[in-house]
């Protein structure tokens, strides 16, 4: 069995969830503080990829990244290459699809944290960055780790948007999910089944980890 799709899926998902992790946390931190209307707007904008069909995300991404788009033309001109149909093209897709998961779990952790503790930190002359890194984040770490693992797992299984921007090229852009589709379409059911089992195994372990983290009570949360 050629393990390239597993390696490629893991690589895409790690890089993408790493990016998602930071963007999600910072978005959550700043959006929580926004006034009503703006908060609602940005909240919707960031959550929409969760309910859109991944093919719609893929289609929109192609409009931005394809060789015919202005970005694609620039990349072609200066680097003589394309962004789409490369293994890293999938990173764009996975980041957008997993961002809502990271953002929402981080946001609910921040919102559940006792606001008086933040206020106390401020009246005690602690800087906002100290409060964020040394008080808020450590106390919300369970929720944030759960969000990260969830985003990672979702990224590992991403199919729709990935297949549109990266396609299926064996040993180049093949991921677990695109490989399953490829083997099924070409009547190689037993090969497809192997990858299905691998996928179920990984998902099971990941969800187990998420559950363990979510069950632990975070500090500073009002019961």
């Amino acid at each position: 069995m050629d393990w390239f799709p597993l390696y490629n899926s893991l690589r895409i998902s790690f890089v993408a969830s790493f990016i998602t992790f930071f963007i999600g946390i910072f978005m959550a931190y700043y959006i929580v503080k926004l006034p009503g209307v703006l908060k609602g707007f940005f909240d919707t904008l960031l959550t929409i990829p969760m309910v859109l069909p991944p093919t719609v995300v893929g289609f929109l991404l192609l409009k931005v990244l394809s060789p015919k788009s202005s970005l694609g033309i620039l990349v072609k001109k200066y680097f003589d290459t394309t962004i789409t149909m490369k293994w890293y093209a999938a990173i764009f897709a996975v980041v957008i699809v997993t961002l809502p998961l990271m953002y929402r779990t981080a946001r609910s952790s921040f919102e559940a944290f006792d606001k008086n503790i933040i206020a106390a930190g401020k009246t005690l002359s602690l800087s906002n960055s100290y409060i964020f890194w040394r008080i808020l984040l450590p106390n919300c770490k369970e929720g944030i780790i759960a969000g990260f693992v969830l985003a990672f797992a979702r990224g590992l299984g991403e199919y729709g948007a990935t297949s549109m921007v990266a396609g299926y090229i064996a040993n180049s852009t093949a991921t677990i999910s695109t490989t399953v589709a490829y083997f099924w379409q070409t009547n190689q059911d037993s090969q497809a089944m192997n990858w299905v089992l691998v996928n179920i195994g990984i998902s099971f372990v990941v969800m187990l980890i998420v559950n363990i983290f979510e069950k632990k009570n975070s500090y500073g949360r009002r019961s």
Binding site: N116, I117, A119, K122, S125, P138, N139, G220
Partner: protein, 345 residues
């Protein structure tokens, strides 16, 4: 050392509109729940922003809506003791205090630990402390930050009554040593009397003029004051041709001056006497009464009595031994003139 605070803030249907000034003294903001006491403190600390007004702490303007001054809480140097202590849950007692100290002063940490009776608890997390220990830790942390003024938001409400007394002593001594302006928020009249010098009474987001605690407790002037300091017997009253009349209690007393704005009077529950205990020199009103109900207390009993020729009920707290003798004498009570307080709205 002083505090000037004149702010307005709208919160839905509620409007906070307070104005008071305090010098080097211990001032209590007293009022029922939801009257805006805590919000006032939060505005002074800079955690909430008022819509308009001005806040000056020790001569430094920290908020001025007109001049667009609004210093961050970090720059205001206001010590704020939260009701639920707000300790950093991920840090030990020692780290909670160290975190707010200037680097060059961190060598003094042991002094703080022992001054606030936290020795032996340095490495514990807040979740492993009792209520009193949490409060000592929060107090030490606040003092370590060297505040310009301190504000205590219902500091004892989360403690049980035994611990409350002990912590009150500790907080009073810490506050005395501090020697600058202290703002103390509470709804508990006895606590306020023990701790503060002056009182600002608040109701529905507005405040009355600052006054000394003795003036308020011994001679309350308004209906709200009387309720807050715990008067139970309050009824409507009016002035007519040299007399104050309170028909609910069947009371009539001479009063030559027309008391401006008189609308209520109040009788202190513990100062009513049975007539047989008075001497001829006691200046008191005598009323016949009947007992409606008796509630037994630990050291005294509470009688609900109905004066003759009136419908109002008067609450009378009476010593147990006096109550035991009551049936031997005619049912007449004496209300000393000095214990009848005339109130405005």
């Amino acid at each position: 050392m002083s505090l000037y605070c004149k702010i307005k803030k709208r919160l839905g249907a509620f409007t906070l509109d307070v104005k008071f000034e305090a010098t080097d003294e211990n001032v209590a903001l007293m009022g029922g729940s939801g009257c805006g006491k805590s919000m006032t403190l939060r505005c002074i600390a800079g955690v909430e922003t008022p819509d308009s007004g001005k806040i000056i702490i020790n001569g430094k303007t920290v908020f001025d809506a007109e001049k667009k001054i609004n210093l961050s809480p970090q720059k205001r140097k206001v010590g704020f003791l939260f009701q639920d202590y707000a300790l950093f849950p991920n840090m030990t007692v020692k780290k909670n205090i160290m975190a707010v100290m200037a680097k060059e002063k961190r060598c003094n940490i042991d002094k703080f630990i022992s001054a606030y009776h936290l020795t032996g608890l340095e490495e514990r997390l807040p979740s492993e402390l009792s209520g009193g220990q949490k409060q000592r830790c929060a107090l030490a942390r606040m003092m370590a930050c060297e505040p310009e003024i301190i504000m205590l938001d219902e500091p004892f409400s989360a403690l049980d009554s035994y611990l409350r007394w002990q912590m009150e002593q500790e907080v009073i001594s810490a506050v005395k040593e501090f020697g600058k302006t202290v703002l103390f928020v509470s709804h508990d009249r006895d606590e306020v009397f023990r701790i503060s010098d002056k009182v600002v009474v608040m109701e529905h987001g507005k405040n009355e003029k600052i006054c000394s605690k003795h003036a308020l407790y011994i001679k309350p002037k308004t209906y709200t004051d009387a309720l807050l300091i715990g008067c139970k017997n309050i009824c409507q009253a009016y002035w007519k041709r040299g007399r104050v009349l309170a028909p609910d209690y069947g009371l009539e007393l001479e009063c030559n001056e027309n008391f401006d704005g008189l609308s209520y009077l109040c009788i202190r529950t513990k100062r009513i006497l049975p007539a047989f205990l008075t001497t001829p020199s006691t200046d008191a009103l005598l009323l016949e009464y009947e007992i409606v109900s008796v509630t037994e207390g630990v050291f005294s009993d509470i009688l609900m009595i109905k004066p003759q020729n009136a419908d109002g009920l008067i609450r009378w707290e009476i010593q147990k031994d006096v109550y035991a003798q009551l049936h031997k004498y005619p049912r007449v009570m004496a209300i000393p003139r000095t214990e009848i307080l005339l109130l405005t709205k």
